[in-house]
Every structure is written in C-alpha cells, then in structure tokens.
C-alpha cells in the first residue's frame, strides 16, 4: 500500500476532536450510553495512535533535515501579522505525538474501568478527547499562535477535568487554582510572542529559528527577555517554581486525569517548548541557566515535600514536579535529547504509578463503600499490606519505582543519568552547574527514598484498612490492569530508546532528534567528559539510588503507622515538609490577600461603584438631565424671553455677515 501523503497530518488531531464532538453530544443528550461513549472515546485515540505511527514511519522514511510544514489556511491575515493555521511534523513532534496518543490510548482504556460507575461518564470522555486534540495541536503547531491555542486549550481541559466533580467546593477550587496560576504563565508566553513578533515580524517557527542566530545578539537583552518570558509560561504549565502550586491540588481530579494530564502530557508541554525553541535558549546563556537552575531547585524542593506527604496521589504529584525539574535541567543545559528522553520514560513510569495508585484507590473506595465508612481512601496510613490483595498492581508499581529511582536497566536510569551527566559536563565550563548537578543528585537520593516509602506503606507491612474492609480489597479488573501491564513493559524496555554509547548503545533518540537540535547544538556545542568520569558518575548515581531505597527500608517502620484518623499531627521539620514549606500560605498572604483586598476595596467599591457607576453612568445621566433642565428654562412660554433670544440671534447673524 503506498504511503499516504503527510499533508493528511491533520487527521491525527482531528480524530480526538471528532471523539469530543460525539461524546459531548452524547453527554448532553444521552449520558447513559456508556458503550458508545467507550467505543468512540477509546477508538478515536487508538486510531489516532495508528495514524501517528503511520505519519512517523513516513517521516522516518523521508529523512527530512527540516520540519515538514503543512499550511492549511490563512488564519490571521492582519497587515504585517500573517499567521496561518499550519501544522508541522519533525522528529521532535513525532516523539511527542507518539507519546501523547500512545499513553493517552492506554489511559483511555484504563478509564473505561475506573470511571465505570460515574454518572458523568460521557462528559469525562468528551473532555479527555478534547484534551488530546489540544495537546496534539500544541505539539504539531508550526507557529507560536497555533501552539498557543493548544497551550490554552489543554489548560482549559485541565480545569474542566480537575473540577470534574465540581459539586464539591474543594474540587472546583482546585480547578480554578490551576487555571488562574496557568494564566500567569500564559502572560509570560504572550509577552514572549510579542517580543518575537516585534523582532522577527513573523511568528512561524521556520522563519524565527532560521533568522534567530543572525537577528539576535547572543546573550543580548532581547533574546534573554524572550527566553525568560517563555520560561515563565513553562513554569506555569509544567509546574516549576514559582508556579507549581496548582499541581498538587490538581490531584482532586479523577486519577486517570492525573496520569494523563499531570504526568505524561500536559505538564511536559513546557519541556517541549524549551526543546522546540532550543535555538533561542542556546543564544541566551542567562536564560538557559535560569531554566536549568529553577529545574534543579524545583527537583530538590519538591522531593523534600514528597518525603512527608500521606496522600498517595500527593506524593506522586510532588514527584512529578520534581521529575519535571530534571527535564528542565536537561533542556536548560542544552541536552535536549536527554530532556526529551526523560520526558518519554517519565511518561511511562509516572503514568504507570498513577494508574497503579488509581487501582489502589479504586479498591479502597470499594472497600469503604461496602462497609459504609467514610475514611480517606487515598491516605497511605489507611493502607498497608495491599500486595497480598493486589499482587499485579504491586509488582508493576515496583517496576515503576525502580525506574524512577534510577536503577539500571530500567528506563529512568538511562534518562536521569544522561541529564546529570550533561550537567556535570557543562559544569566544567560553567561552575554554577556543579550546584545544579549536586541538587539533582540529592534529589535522586530523596526520590528513591520517598518512592520506596510509598511502596512500603501502601503494599507492605500490616494492613490498616480495617477488619471488615479487608475482605473487599481485590485486584483491579483486566480493563485496568491491562494498560498497567503494557506500561510496565514499556518501563522495562523504554531505556533502549537512547542507550548511550558508553554502554555500547546506539543513542537512537539522540540521533533521531539531531535534525531538530542540530542548530542549537551548533550555537552551543554539547560538552563531553572523559569516559572514566562518565563511569564514575554513573556509578555514583546508582549508588545514590540504592542508598535511598536501602535507607527507606531501614529507617521506615510501617508497623508503627496508625490509620489516618488516629494519627498524631506532625511536629517540627516533619510538619514543615508536610505543610509544603508553607508556600501556599505565603502566596496567600503576599499575593492573594492583597489582590483580593485591592479588588474589593479599590476596584469594586471605588472604581466600579463610585467612578464608573456613579460618575460616568449616573453622572452622564445627571448631566443630560441638567442640560435638559437648562434647556427647559428657555421655554418659558413668555414672548419677552423669546424676543431676547431672537435679538441675540440677530446680533450673531449680523456679526457673521459683517465679517
């Protein structure tokens, strides 16, 4: 069969869009048609994955050195600003669309089981399909505006899905928080777009990246401003310091949503953006340093918080924030392939972890539902020893834990190691990077520790759920464990994607991405270290990971835990970590309260009520009334007054005539 032309690329995002339309209509008209919804929702994703696969295969066959751009129609023809609705496919986008549609399809399948009893089933799949559509637009966009449409769209779907059970205040608040915090990041993205347009007169990736090395002074103010503002958008979307606060709250949404949006895809949009704009970041040492620095700091910071969280999803949320930090260290150092590699492997094992926790929560809910208790089904203090009841889930999650800790030969080992190696290499030229490397190493230690802690408290030791609930705990149905198993396989072998030359591998991903990252690398050559140093680093990383796991086993005592409702409150440093370093409270005091006060006291009471309503609206009415009253005074009905006016008019006319 002849290969279809790549101009049909639009089919890939169109499929989930169709799914959204159908499921959305069903949600409004016939929400109980679960079978149709499932078939459409999952089917469009599977088809999209197939289409993506075909597209990528065709791309591989063609070997282009530049992105293939397909312009579909003129979207914004406004004088100097000419923006087309255009999609592009290159090696970087190829990686993303495979991850999005592939992992997305698996999560859709999982959702069929997880959300089965939810009355909002059709709405859920509608939103999920819409999200995939927007995410594909984001990664396939050939210019900044199309990408921004996707950027905003995924933010919208994130809001809709976090607040999916909006009848409870806390869920709706979490959705709002996510959207509002993202908006701050979006402002950064927009300002960067304005600067880019002002400088280049175009917003097409092709044009901008081609002209960038000539048009921008390396290390100059403009390129630094552009990169910093772009990164502000990334801190919002990808939950880095200072805008990461929405991600832990986003766990209020259904767990498959957390897996898809807040682990595998949406939050990686920031990493993709930096990789896509690699040329710009290569031209700004300060910008790259900020990216890597904030990434490293976030990685460490979030890891410390995860040490003391009791909600299983919160642990995973902070873990995601931390791992995203790693990715930013990667792309900030110029090691785009390493960053993207970690993105892919992280998608596998983090989705697996979230879906696994979903299975656990599902079982806990069932247990509590059966006995009519209202305990927290997500608190690890209520779990324990679940490996006896859910062996498959436990085993698969252990695979993911080892991967995230960085134990060879699991996927996470290769990717994390490559990032740390790149940072260390950069440090030989820019000593600041030693700090980043160090933070990353400590974060790796903590990651291994808290993930082992999660596994210990959840699956091992005595069971704390309760006598009567215990008999209702069981493994998840195959529709849920199937995707888990697939992800487990991917986690096991995912490392093969980019085995570095050091180990005799072919660094497939790095070579695959070369056409895209080549330009940036020419501007900012990647540094290498001696093989011996590399082996030392690798050994060090593995040692650190093993130390973390071993330490957790030794120091933590699951037997000493009590169920959540009986647990004593934390004290001291533990309390500080558990309370997330009081960052939310800090933001509340510094930003939220003053803004709310300003809005209420100044903007509402003074500007809106007094100035706009009082002065402008009512004032205009009063002025009209006054002028009308004045006019009415002229109409006295007395001839004498009229004669006076008449004579005044005559004077004016004579004056005009005499002139």
């Amino acid at each position: 069969m002849p290969a279809p032309p790549l101009s049909l690329l639009w089919v890939v995002p169109a499929l989930p869009l169709v799914g959204f339309v159908v499921n959305g209509t069903l949600a409004l008209t016939r929400p109980t048609a679960k079978r149709v919804v499932s078939i459409v929702g999952v089917g469009t994703l599977v088809l999209a994955f197939a289409a993506a696969g075909i597209a990528v295969a065709e791309l591989a066959r063609q070997h282009p050195t530049a992105p293939l751009v397909f312009r579909y129609w003129e979207w914004i023809p406004a004088g100097d600003l000419q923006v087309a609705f255009a999609l592009q496919l290159d090696q970087l986008a190829a990686v993303m669309i495979l991850v999005v549609t592939g992992v997305g399809a698996l999560i859709h399948v999982f959702s069929v089981g997880y959300m089965h009893e939810d009355p909002g089933y059709a709405r859920y799949f509608a939103y999920l399909n819409l999200f995939v559509f927007f995410m594909l637009m984001l990664v396939l966009g050939a210019n900044f505006p199309v990408m921004f449409v996707g950027w905003e769209g995924v933010g919208l779907c994130s809001y809709l899905l976090i607040g999916f059970w909006f009848n409870e205040r806390v869920n709706a608040d979490a959705g709002k928080k996510a959207f509002i915090v993202n908006r701050i990041g979006d402002f950064g993205f927009l300002v960067a777009m304005f600067l880019i347009f002002a400088r280049f007169g175009s917003l097409d990736f092709e044009t901008v990246f081609a002209k960038a090395p000539a048009a921008l002074m390396p290390g100059g103010a403009i390129v630094t401003a552009i990169t910093l503002f772009l990164f502000l958008g990334c801190t919002g979307k990808s939950a880095q310091i200072p805008l990461y606060i929405w991600l832990p709250d986003a766990m209020q949404g259904p767990t498959p949503v957390s897996a898809l949006i807040h682990a595998a895809t949406m939050v990686t949009a920031g990493v993709y953006l930096v990789a896509r704009c690699g040329v710009l970041f290569a031209l700004s040492p300060l910008g790259s340093a900020v990216v890597a620095g904030i990434g490293a700091l976030t990685a460490l910071f979030a890891a410390t918080i995860a040490l003391k969280q009791w909600d299983i999803k919160r642990v995973l949320a902070y873990s995601t924030v931390s791992q995203l930090g790693y990715m930013f260290v990667g792309v900030g150092t110029g090691a785009y392939a390493a960053g993207m590699f970690h993105l892919v492997t992280h998608a596998f094992f983090k989705a697996l972890l979230f879906l696994g926790s979903g299975s656990v929560i599902h079982a806990m809910h069932h247990a509590y539902h059966a006995t009519h208790t209202h305990e927290d089904a997500q608190d690890m203090r209520n779990m324990g020893g679940l490996a006896r009841h859910m062996p498959w889930t436990a085993a698969l999650m252990w695979i993911a834990t080892l991967a995230i800790a960085g134990i060879p030969p699991f996927a996470g080992f290769f990717s994390k190691d490559e990032i740390l190696g790149a940072a260390f290499a950069e440090a030989t030229v820019r000593p600041l990077w030693y700090a980043f490397w160090g933070m990353g190493l400590v974060a790796a230690l903590l990651t291994a520790f808290y993930m082992t802690r999660l596994m210990l408290y959840t699956f091992h030791g005595p069971n704390r759920t309760g006598e009567r609930e215990r008999e209702h705990l069981h493994e998840a149905p195959p529709v849920m464990t199937g995707p888990l198993a697939l992800l487990g396989v991917l986690t096991l072998v995912g490392g093969a994607l980019n085995v570095p030359h050091l180990f005799g591998g072919n660094a497939f991903l790095e070579h695959w991405l070369e056409p895209v990252t080549g330009v940036a690398h020419r501007l900012r050559p990647a540094l290498e270290v001696a093989a011996a140093t590399e082996w030392t680093l690798v050994a060090g990383a593995v040692l650190v990971a093993a130390l973390g796991i071993f330490g957790a086993f030794r120091l933590l005592k699951p037997e000493a835990l009590v169920p959540a409702r009986l647990a004593p409150p934390e004290t001291g440093l533990a309390r500080l970590l558990w309370k997330k370093w009081y960052v939310d409270e800090l933001y509340d005091a510094i930003i939220v309260r003053p803004v709310t006060w300003l809005s209420r006291e100044v903007l509402w009471k003074i500007v809106d009520a007094r100035i706009v309503d009082g002065l402008l609206v009512n004032g205009t009415a009063a002025a009209s009334r006054a002028i009308g009253w004045l006019g009415s005074r002229l109409q006295t009905g007395e001839v004498g007054v009229y004669v006076v006016l008449f004579v005044i008019g005559v004077l004016a006319v004579v004056r005009a005539a005499v002139r």
Binding site: G640, V644, V647, I648, V650, L651, V654, R655, V658
Partner: protein
C-alpha cells in the same frame, strides 16, 4: 445750515425715541413717538424727499399713532397710578447690552458706501423734484414701473381692513 437743521431734527428724534422707550405710561410713550416721527419728517425734507415727509406726517403720525392712542385709551392702559410696565433690573441690563451691541454692529456697517458707478450726481434728486414736482417724482415710477406692487398693496390693505374688523368683533 442744512447740517445744523439735520442735527437738530436728528437729535430730537433720538431723544424722543429714548424717552419713548423709557416712558412710564403708554400714553407718554405714544406721544414721544409722535414727536420722533415729526422729527423724522423734518429730516426727510432735508433729504429731498418732501412728498415722503408729508406722507409721514399724514399717515404715520396722523393716522397710525392716533389709532395707537385710541386703543391705549380703549384698554385703559394709560391710567395714572398703574405701575410701570418696564421690566426689572435684569431685563434693563439685558436690553441695554443688546441694544448697545446692535448699535455698534450697525455702525460698523455704516462704513460701507455704495459704489461710485451707482451714485447719481450730487443734487440730482433735488433737481428732479424741482423740475417735476416732488409728488410726480414718486408717483410716476409708482404707477408705471411699480404698478404691480401698488395693486398688491391695495389688496393687502383690503385684507387688513377685513381682518381688523373680524378680529375686533365681540361675536363673530
């Protein structure tokens, strides 16, 4: 000498007019106006318009002003002891201001003299009136060139008579 007479008559007209508009009772106003009209008739004589001067005295001062006096007395408007019908302070100021404004504007126009081609030689009208008589000076164009307006004026006067009778009737 003609100049002196002119200023005499002109001054009288202006003073009389002023006293007319500021007179306390309507009868006083009417009588001052009569004096002003007489003065104007004098000026007309000086301007070689003798027929017009006579008409002024006969028609204006003699008929129209008499009619005014009749009506004033018919309406008892000239009773002594009635408060003056002049407006109060603000009205006086307004009237004074507007009047002065108008005077200045009109005096500005006064500087526009007719073009020399249009002017007749000096004394032409006087010559004509001496030759043919002042009456014929006016009557000849009136009955030849301006015949149509003349006839229309007669219709106008007819309408005015009918109208005055109808309006003043007690019962139609």
């Amino acid at each position: 000498m003609i100049e002196g007479l002119f200023w005499l008559f002109g001054g009288t007209a202006i003073v009389a007019a002023f006293l007319c508009i500021t007179g306390r009772s309507p009868v006083a106003s009417a009588l001052w106006l009569v004096l002003a009209l007489f003065a104007l008739a004098g000026i007309y004589v000086l301007l070689d318009a003798q027929f017009i001067a006579v008409l002024q005295v006969l028609v204006y001062a003699g008929a129209i002003m008499v009619l005014f006096l009749f009506v004033i007395m018919l309406l008892n408007a000239g009773r002594p002891g009635v408060a003056t019908d002049m407006k109060g302070g603000a009205g006086r100021v307004t009237a004074a201001l507007l009047g002065l404004g108008l005077v200045f504007e009109l005096l500005a126009i006064r500087g526009w003299m007719p073009a020399d081609q249009l002017r007749l030689p000096a004394g032409a009208i006087a010559e004509l009136s001496r030759e043919h008589g002042a009456v014929r000076l006016v009557a000849e164009p009136l009955f030849t060139g301006y015949l149509v307006p003349f006839e229309i004026t007669s219709l106008l006067l007819l309408a005015a008579v009918v109208g005055a009778v109808v309006l003043a009737k007690r019962k139609l």
